[in-house]
């Protein structure tokens, strides 16, 4: 009788487990993720890689004889730097160099733990804003580097982002608070929150262009009845910036409101009861309980709002097509105009710039959120 030597237990191969349905949880998880990951790779990462690759090539469809030569970073040089670099005093003394220097120092400091991360993030945002706005709105061509139209679009994008994100929080937070109050009229506020959110942006743009129309529009008609001569909203640069931002705020504060409302509803009532027992005023309750507990929701709303604001295209296009002149030509509109002019190479480079802005903002926010960890 031969002794059967005990063989070491061999776990069955993946294929066997797959057939028998005997998978570990991790294996099952990976298998279930494969289709989604494949789709993501195909529809997200592949286009991103393609746009990056495209941005390194010259391609103008109305110049087919030139073909599609590889030109390296030439598009980015044209965009950011220009082909003829002039070191005039204005260039050197521009605020932007100081600002960028400050950013570098701060980030180095955070790395060494000498500067608090949150301070560094705030300073970075402020410095980039100052630098960015200065780039675009610097008086005279001498102070500019590279493609003046790009810097103009860049600054407008920053301006629209800051104004409309701040605006949508100023409107969205009170709306969310209102919608959270137990009242007979709560349904009204909730509907008011849902309608702008559900409306297509282009429709909103066209609708508000009519409202703001300076001769036939409702807004100026109301002002006229009150005895005030309203501005030529969309026919002058400054009021057009206001009108467009008001429209964007109208259309987007609902989104902020909805997310904040969800956050408000998750706050435990007993906290307020305890605070009331301790004699806290409504104001104190708001600052000490509501706002701190709302922080995760605020962060989520802020990230999504900022990212959509950076990519703003629909409302300014529908209202003024980026006009008057180039007053509201955001980066998104510039990309679309360049694509329609069939300059696919440069359009790809501009898209990369837009993508970089979104990425930078996301990284900054993530750092802010995890600042305390």
């Amino acid at each position: 009788m031969a002794l059967t030597t005990p063989t070491a237990y061999r776990s069955p191969g993946l294929w066997r487990r797959l057939r028998s349905g005997n998978l570990t949880e991790a294996q099952l998880g990976i298998i279930l993720l494969i289709p989604a990951a494949a789709v993501l790779l195909l529809v997200m990462f592949w286009p991103i890689v393609q746009v990056l690759w495209q941005s390194l090539h010259f391609e103008r469809l109305n110049l087919p004889a030139r073909g599609r030569p590889f030109i390296g970073l030439e598009h980015f040089q044209r965009m950011l730097w220009g082909t003829e670099m002039a070191w005039s005093p204005q260039h050197l003394l521009g605020w932007r160099l100081l600002a960028f220097a400050a950013v570098g120092g701060l980030w180095w400091g955070t790395g060494r733990g000498t500067v608090r991360r949150r301070t560094a993030v705030i300073w970075t945002v402020v410095a980039l804003l100052v630098a960015g706005l200065w780039m675009g709105f610097h008086p005279g061509e001498a102070g500019r580097w590279g493609d003046a139209r790009f810097w103009n679009a860049f600054s407008i994008t920053l301006l629209v982002t800051v104004a409309s994100v701040a605006g949508s929080f100023l409107v969205g937070l009170p709306l969310a608070l209102l919608a959270n109050v137990e009242s007979r009229w709560r349904w009204l506020v909730r509907i008011a929150l849902l309608i702008p959110w559900a409306m297509p942006r282009v429709l909103v743009g066209i609708m508000f262009a009519w409202l703001f129309n300076s001769t036939n529009g409702v807004i100026n008609d109301v002002l006229r009845r009150l005895g005030v001569e309203g501005p030529l909203w969309l026919a002058r640069a400054d009021p057009a910036i206001w009108a467009t931002n008001i429209t964007i705020v109208w259309a987007t504060s609902a989104f902020v409101g909805l997310i904040l409302l969800a956050g408000l509803q998750s706050i435990d009532e007993s906290l307020y009861e305890a605070a009331m027992v301790d004699g806290a005023s409504p104001w104190q309750r708001f600052w000490q309980i509501t706002l701190p507990l709302l922080r995760p929701s605020i962060a989520v709303a802020l990230i999504f709002r900022t990212l959509t604001a950076i990519q703003t295209y629909d409302i300014p296009y529908a209202m003024t097509r980026g006009g008057p002149g180039r007053t509201l030509e955001t980066l998104g509109i510039y990309v679309a105009n360049t694509t329609n002019s069939l300059n696919l190479g440069y359009a790809a480079a501009l898209s990369v710039a837009l993508f970089t802005m979104s990425l930078a903002v996301t990284v900054l926010y993530l750092r802010w959120i995890y600042a305390d960890d």
Binding site: R236, N340, L342
Partner: protein
């Protein structure tokens, strides 16, 4: 039994379908699919070996172009024939996006003889260095529409110079005493039409955007005169101050509501004014149409519009497509388009055609304008040139740029667009 018969019928249809050449035509929503559809049905009935279907998309010239950009960039042959705006053939020729049509004629002389009946403007756009890239489907131009009743009331004939127009507009505005009555309306928004607003004033001052040697000439006394005229329309009050937000359709609506004495607009506006419109009209039967005025001593001029039939070079059936193209550009088809869709014919012979004139008597007065219509810059870089002109124009109307600044910006922009 019945079901079997139906099945056999479907099979037969499929089989015949396989033997036939399948072609697809792409048109925009604004080009009356309800009229072009039956026209293609008739072609199918007459030509059993070809089956033409059509696809509709895009409500404006820009949107149609964006769709075709996608199709042609990917070298797709799904669409065999498409309609393109009169401003596009040069770009299509450069990009190789339109099949050259010379090959379908016995000789170039035969081709020129065939083109004889077409209006000169559209042919100028479609014939690039002796190669024909498209056939005109119908044409268009900017016209001066005026309130015939008001002009008659004050004993005015339609103006032939801009000064006359200003004088008449001011007189009528003052005498009527209606603060809502605008003297003169045109397009100043950031749209394609604003390019025409600029060029028309430039041409009627004897200038052009480019000289015979091909250099861009936008900072010239003629161009300054053109912008000085628009400054004057705003300063004298014959034009509304918010002209920077006036689009083609907005200006059509304001005239239609009875609020404007003179308006520059395209051919489509006529039918709206007469009551075939989405909004009520206050001016039915009160509208006159005339060539654009000019500056003293110069000729009238206007921007040409309209659409062209072209063949996709990536199509597998260009020969069959040519037969459809010939059919669509024929006098009979253009007559149908004129009578049923009020499209302005691109063939001279149709302007004294009884059927056309019975349906659209105003075409007779359009002819004098159409025959003198001029092309916007014929260049493969038209999209860039257009932006380089209309953006500073729009800023000028928004009082952001002075006339000189706007012209300098235009000059620079157009030079950059042509410098590649």
């Amino acid at each position: 039994m019945r079901r079997t018969l139906a099945f056999i019928a479907i099979l037969a249809l499929l089989a015949s379908g396989l033997a036939q050449t399948q072609l697809k035509v792409y048109i925009g929503g604004q080009q009356r699919p309800d009229v072009i559809g039956p026209l293609l049905e008739q072609f199918n009935a007459e030509n059993p070996d070809i089956v033409v279907t059509f696809e509709v998309g895009g409500a404006t010239s820009e949107l149609q172009q964006q769709y075709l950009n996608t199709v042609l960039t990917s070298r797709s042959g799904d669409i065999d024939i498409f309609l393109i705006d009169v401003i596009r053939p040069a770009q299509y020729a450069a990009s190789g996006w339109a099949e050259p049509l010379n090959q379908f004629f016995a000789s170039d002389a035969a081709m020129m003889a065939y083109l004889e009946d077409f209006l000169p403007g559209p042919i100028e756009a479609n014939l690039i260095d002796g190669t024909l890239y498209a056939l005109p489907a119908f044409t268009d131009a900017q016209f001066l529409y005026y309130r015939a009743d008001l002009l008659e009331k004050y004993g005015f004939e339609p103006p032939t110079t801009w000064d006359e127009l200003k004088m008449m507009a001011l007189t009528i505005q003052q005498q009527e005493g209606d603060p809502n009555l605008q003297g003169f309306n045109y397009q100043g928004a950031n749209i394609e039409g604003t390019v025409c607003t600029f060029l028309q004033a430039l041409w009627t001052a004897g200038g052009d955007w480019v000289d015979d040697a091909g250099s861009v000439t936008l900072v010239t006394p003629e161009a300054r005169r053109a912008l000085a005229w628009y400054d004057d329309t705003l300063a004298s009050g014959i034009t509304v101050q918010n002209i920077a937000e006036i689009t083609t359709d907005l200006s059509r609506r304001q005239f239609q509501a009875g609020n404007v004495v003179f308006v520059l607009n395209w051919g489509f506006a006529w039918a709206h004014f007469q009551g075939s419109s989405d909004v009520p009209t206050a001016v039915a039967g009160l509208v006159g149409v005339a060539p654009l005025p000019s500056f003293e001593g110069f000729d009238s001029a206007t921007c040409i519009g309209g659409w062209q039939w072209a063949i996709n070079p990536y199509s597998a059936n260009t020969d069959a497509a040519w037969r459809v193209l010939e059919y669509l550009a024929s006098p009979d088809s253009q007559r149908v388009l004129a009578v049923e869709a009020s499209n302005i014919p691109a063939r001279k012979s149709l302007y004294d055609d009884p059927a056309v004139l019975a349906a659209a008597p105003h075409f007779a007065s359009f002819y004098d304008v159409i025959i003198n219509a001029r092309s916007r810059p014929v260049t493969p870089f038209f999209s860039d040139v257009s932006l380089a002109i209309r953006v500073p124009m729009n800023a000028f109307f928004a009082r952001q740029l002075t006339a000189d600044e706007a012209l300098r910006e235009m000059q620079q922009g157009v030079e950059d667009a042509l410098d590649f």
